[in-house]
Subunit: 561 residues, 2 copies
C-alpha cells in the first residue's frame, strides 16, 4: 500500500478515535493481576517495583537514528510501530520509551508519543501530566534548592561559597527568561546570588530516577548530589546529604520511581518512564522500566534520544553499563528526505526526487552504522517511508546499506501501524537469530576524564581531537582531586551534527570538538562534558504550539500532536 | 473517656496502621459505579464532572474557628471527626476539605489531613503529590508566565509595560529566595525585569479552579486573568486571552478541575479539592467539590481557612455568593488552651489551670460567634478537648457560650474519632432541625471597593475604619475606571489577630486597618485587599520539617504528620 496523506488523519484524531483496552487487561497479558498494578485513570497504571528486579527473560533491541534534521526521521514512530509489528508476528514485545516534557509540547516540537497509526495512548494524558512523574521530579529538585538557600540564609554552617553553587532550579516549561536570574533580592529574602533554571529533562534528578535500580539506590544517589563547594582554597564538595535533604527527596519520588504502563494503538504494552533529553542528558527511559520490560516480555524495543552519536552512545556507555544490560540488536532509523538534507539539500527542496543529493548523504548512514557496530551490537537499518519518497530513492538507500553488509527494511508504520513494520521486525528477528551481538562499552571508566571524552569524540563523532576550555580544565582537575572522576562521561552536544557545530551536516572530517564546561553529576553517577553551546533551557517560538490548543466542549482536544 | 497521650499513637502511625477500604467501595456508598470514577491508585479517585452539576440534596455545614494561636485549635481534626460522627449517627455525611500544599508540609506546620483518630486517608499521598492537582495548577500558572515573557521577547505587540507586569511566577514550596528576583538576565534571555514568586495556594489559578463551576466557566475565568497593563497614559488591562494562552491553560487543568474522592479513618467519603490559603486567598475547597458533596450526601461538612474573620467571611461573601450555596449551620472550633492565649497567657504557661486567663479570653469566642451570625447562619461552638483541660475550665467555656444563646458541645475526636464527635453532631442536627438559617452575604458587590473593604473591616474585624495607602488608592481608582470593581473583595490579612497586627490577640478595639495594596484577580472574580504585611511566599524554618522525613525500607514513611 502506498501511503497517502489524505487517508491518514491527524495524530490526535487517530488517538481520540481509538478504542483503548482497559489497562488491567494490558497488564493481564503480561501476567500481572489487578492487585499488582495501581491504576491512574482507566488507561494508565504504575507497575510494582517487584517486576523491576525480576530475572530478565527478554531480548533488548535499541532503536536509534541518524542525526536529526527538520525533515523528520520518525524514531519514536518506528519504535512504536516495530513493537506493534513484533506482536503481530506472535512475539510478546514490550515497548519502553521516555515520557515527554511539557516544554517541547507547548513549544514547537509537539509531544513524543509516536505518530499516525504508531502511537502510544492515551496520547493526550501522556503529553500533559501523565502520572505526575515529572512533577514529582520537579518538586524534589525544588525542595533541594529551597533547603540550600535556606541553609545559606540561616547562617551557612556548611561554609558553602555562594558564588560556587552548582545546583540550579528547574521547571518543566520552555522559559527563556529563567535562563539567568538574580534571586534573594530584598531585605529578609535570603542571600542574593545568581541563579539559573534548567528544563526538567536536564535536571540531575531526572537522570537519577532514570538510572536508580531501586529505592535504596535512589536515596544513595540523591545523597551524592553535589550542590556546590566550600569557599577558600579548600573547595570541598557539599552534597545533598549534608543538607539532610535526602530522606524527604526520596519520599517525594516514591511513586515516580515506579514505571508506567500504557498501550500502543494496537493494544500492546508500552512502558513509559522518565525523560532525560538526549543532547544535554543521557537520553534514555529509566533502567527500571527496561528491566520491567525484560522481566515481562520476550522482546523489549527501547529508544534513545537523537542520533547514535548522542542517545545510543550514552545508552551503551551509561545505561547498559550501569544496569548490566545486554543489547542484542539496534535499529537505525533513516529517511530519504533527511539523507537528502545530509547531502546538502535545503528543506524546501525535499519534495522532488534528487538522487544526487541522496547519494551525497548516504555516507552519513554508514557513519551511524559503524557507531553502533563498534559497541558489538549488530544493526538493522529502518528506512522510514515518507509520502514524497520515489522508488528510485528508496532503492538507492537499500542498495547502499546492503554494501555495508547490513540488513535494511522499509518501514511504513506511520500510515499502516504494525502491519507496516512487519518487514523490519522480520529482519530484526533474523539478526537476533544469528546471535552475533557481543556488547561492550567504548571505554573503561577508570581512564582519566580527558581520555574518556577524547575517545568518544574521536571514535563516535569522528573528530581529530578535543580542545578543553580553561574552565573545563580546572573542573576536570577538581573532579579528579575530589574522587569524582571514575565514572562514565555524559556528552552534551548539539544533536544536529556529528561535530559541535549544528550547521555541519553529512560526515564532517578534520574537525576538533571544544569542551566548554565539565561538571560532575555525582548523584546520577557521571561527569557531564558540554561541547559547544548547549541550551539547558529552551525558549518558546514566536507563536508557540500552545496558542493552537484547546479543550472542546465535548472533552476532546484540539492542537496537540 | 478521658484522653490520654500515651494511648494515642502519632498521626502517621495511626494512618499507616489503618485498613483502608478500596475507593470503589467508598464511591459505591455514594451511588457511583466503578465506571463513574477514575481511580488514582487504589485509595484515591477523581469524581466525574457530572456529579458537580447534579441537583443538591444535602445540607451544608461550615466548620470555622476562633483566631489561630500556637496552642492549636484542631479545625481540620474537628471537621473530619464531625463527619465521622454524623455517619455513626446514620447520616450520609460527606466531608469536603482543601488539599495541602507542599510548602507547609516541608516547613513547620506539617500536613493538613486532620489528626489522631480523625484523619483523611491515604494521609501520606494526600500530603505529597495526591492526584497532581497542585502540579497541574503550577504548570498552568507557569505556562502563562512563559508565554507572557515570550511575548515581551518577540516584540511585545500588545504594548505591555514591563514595569507593570502583575502576573507573578509560582512554586509549591517555601522558598524565600524567590520572593523577589531579577529575571531575563543576559543576552538573548528575554527582557530583564523584576519578578516575584508566590506559593501555589496564593496563585490566582488556584482561586480560579476553586471557584469555577465547569470547564467552560474555567476557560472564561482563565481568559479574564489580567497579567499587566499597557504603558503610557492609557494603562489598559492586558489579559491571558490576549496572549492566546487560555486554550492550552484549560487543557492543562482538565483533570485538576475534577474533585478527588478519598476516605476518613472510619471509611466515610471525603472530597478533597483545591487549597487556596485563608490569609492570602479565599481559603475554601472548590465549589465543584462542595456541589458534588451536596449532590451525593445528606450533610456536607466543609471547612474554611483560619478564623471566622478570614475563611468564613470569604466562604460566605465569595464562595457561597458565587455558587449560590445555602449554608445552614456553622461550627466554631475553640479550645481552652487557645482561649487562655487569647486571654494573655504565654504558650509555656498553658498546661496548668488558669481560670482568670480563660475568662479574659472568652470575649474572643463571642466575637467570632457574632461574625458568623451576622451572615444569617446559626452557630454551634465545638470545644475541642485537649489533654491539659480541667473540668472547671471546660465548664467555664460551656457556661459562657450558653450565655450567648448558642449551643456548645465537647469534641474529643482526636482521641476517640467519630465517637468523640457524636455530642457535637447531635447539637448540629438540633440546630439544623430548628431551621433558623437565612444566609445572606455581608455586602452588595455593586457598592464601591472602599466601602466593601470598610464594611468587612468594621463589621467582621471590629475596626473603627480603614486607611488606604497611596498605592492602594491608585489601584482602586484604576480598577473602578476599568470596570473591574463590581466584585466581592478578598481580604488578605494576618490570621493571628482580628486586626492587621499579628501580635494583638483577644478582641482589640479602637484600631484601624491599613490596606497597603489592592489588585484585581479578574479571573477569580474578586479584588484582593492586602492589609498589613501578608507573605505570599513563606520561608523554611532553620530546621525544616523535611529534615526529619524518610522512606523506610519497608515502604512506610517517617516524619510526616
Amino acid at each position: 500500500m502506498t501511503p497517502s496523506a489524505s487517508r491518514v488523519p491527524s495524530d490526535i484524531e487517530i488517538a481520540q478515535s481509538a478504542t483503548m483496552r482497559p489497562i488491567r487487561d494490558v497488564a493481564m497479558d503480561l501476567g500481572l493481576g489487578a492487585d499488582d498494578i495501581d491504576p491512574y485513570g482507566r488507561y494508565k497504571a504504575k507497575l510494582p517495583m517487584s517486576v523491576t528486579s525480576a530475572p530478565p527473560r527478554g531480548r533488548l533491541v535499541l532503536v536509534t537514528a541518524i542525526s536529526p534534521t527538520p525533515a523528520g526521521e520518525g524514531k519514536s514512530t518506528v519504535s512504536v510501530g516495530l513493537s506493534q509489528a513484533f506482536r503481530r508476528l506472535g512475539h510478546n514485545a514490550i515497548l519502553c520509551m521516555r515520557e515527554p516534557s511539557l516544554g517541547p509540547v507547548f513549544g514547537v516540537k509537539g509531544g513524543a508519543a509516536g505518530g499516525g497509526y504508531s502511537q502510544v495512548l492515551p496520547m493526550d494524558d501522556i503529553n500533559l501530566h501523565f502520572t505526575g512523574d515529572f512533577h514529582a521530579i520537579s518538586s524534589t529538585h525544588a525542595l533541594l534548592a529551597a533547603m540550600l538557600d535556606n541553609h545559606l540564609y540561616h547562617g551557612n554552617a556548611l561554609g558553602l561559597d555562594p558564588k560556587r553553587i552548582s545546583w540550579p532550579r528547574t521547571i518543566d516549561m520552555n522559559d527563556r527568561a529563567l535562563r539567568q536570574a538574580i534571586i534573594g533580592v530584598g531585605a529578609g529574602n535570603g542571600m542574593m546570588r545568581e541563579e539559573r533554571w534548567v528544563i526538567i529533562p536536564a535536571s540531575e534528578i531526572m537522570a537519577i530516577v532514570a538510572l536508580a535500580s531501586d529505592a535504596e539506590d535512589l536515596e544513595r544517589r540523591l545523597g551524592n548530589i553535589v550542590v556546590g563547594t566550600t569557599g577558600g582554597k579548600d573547595k570541598r564538595p557539599v552534597r545533598a546529604r549534608d543538607l539532610n535533604a535526602t530522606g524527604a527527596m526520596t519520599l517525594l519520588l516514591k511513586d515516580a520511581l515506579r514505571p508506567n504502563l500504557v498501550q500502543t494503538l494496537e493494544g500492546g504494552p508500552a512502558i513509559l518512564h522518565c525523560g532525560p533529553f538526549g543532547n544535554i542528558a543521557h537520553g534514555c527511559n529509566s533502567l527500571v522500566a527496561t528491566r520491567a520490560g525484560l522481566a515481562l516480555g520476550d522482546i523489549v524495543v527501547t529508544e534513545a534520544g537523537f542520533g547514535s552519536d548522542l542517545g545510543a552512545e550514552k545508552f551503551f556507555d551509561i545505561k547498559c553499563r550501569f544496569g548490566g544490560l545486554n543489547p542484542e540488536a539496534a535499529v537505525l532509523v533513516t529517511t530519504v528526505r533527511s539523507l537528502k538534507m545530509q547531502g546538502g539539500l535545503p528543506k524546501n527542496a525535499l519534495d522532488v526526487e534528487d538522487l544526487g543529493a541522496l547519494e551525497r548523504g548516504l555516507p552519513h548512514v554508514a557513519h551511524h552504522v559503524r557507531n553502533v557496530q563498534q559497541f558489538g551490537v549488530p544493526v538493522v537499518v529502518a528506512l522510514n517511508r515518507r509520502l514524497s519518497d520515489t522508488d528510485a530513492e528508496l532503492q538507492m538507500v537499500a542498495d547502499y546499506v546492503a554494501t555495508l553488509g547490513v540488513r535494511v527494511a522499509l518501514a511504513n508504520v506511520w500510515a499502516e501501524g504494525g502491519a507496516g513494520g512487519e518487514e523490519l521486525a522480520r529482519e530484526v528477528l533474523a539478526e537476533l537469530a544469528e546471535g552475533t551481538a557481543a556488547f561492550r562499552p567504548l571505554y573503561d571508566t577508570a581512564r582519566p576524564i580527558r581520555e574518556k571524552i577524547t575517545t568518544v569524540a574521536q571514535r563516535v563523532y569522528g573528530a581529530d581531537g578535543v580542545d578543553f576550555s580553561a574552565a573545563a580544565e580546572k573542573s576536570i582537575d577538581w573532579l579528579e582531586a575530589n574522587g569524582m572522576a571514575d565514572t562514565p562521561v555524559c556528552m552534551a552536544k548539539t544533536q544536529y551534527s556529528l561535530t559541535d557545530d549544528p550547521s555541519r551536516l553529512g560526515v564532517p572530517t578534520g574537525f576538533r570538538v571544544t569542551v566548554n564546561e565539565v561538571y560532575g553529576s555525582s548523584g546520577a553517577g557521571f561527569v557531564v562534558a558540554k561541547c559547544g553551546d548547549i541550551m539547558t533551557m529552551p525558549g518558546l517560538a514566536k507563536v508557540p504550539a500552545a496558542e493552537g490548543m484547546r479543550l472542546r466542549p465535548d472533552g476532546t482536544i484540539e492542537g496537540l500532536s
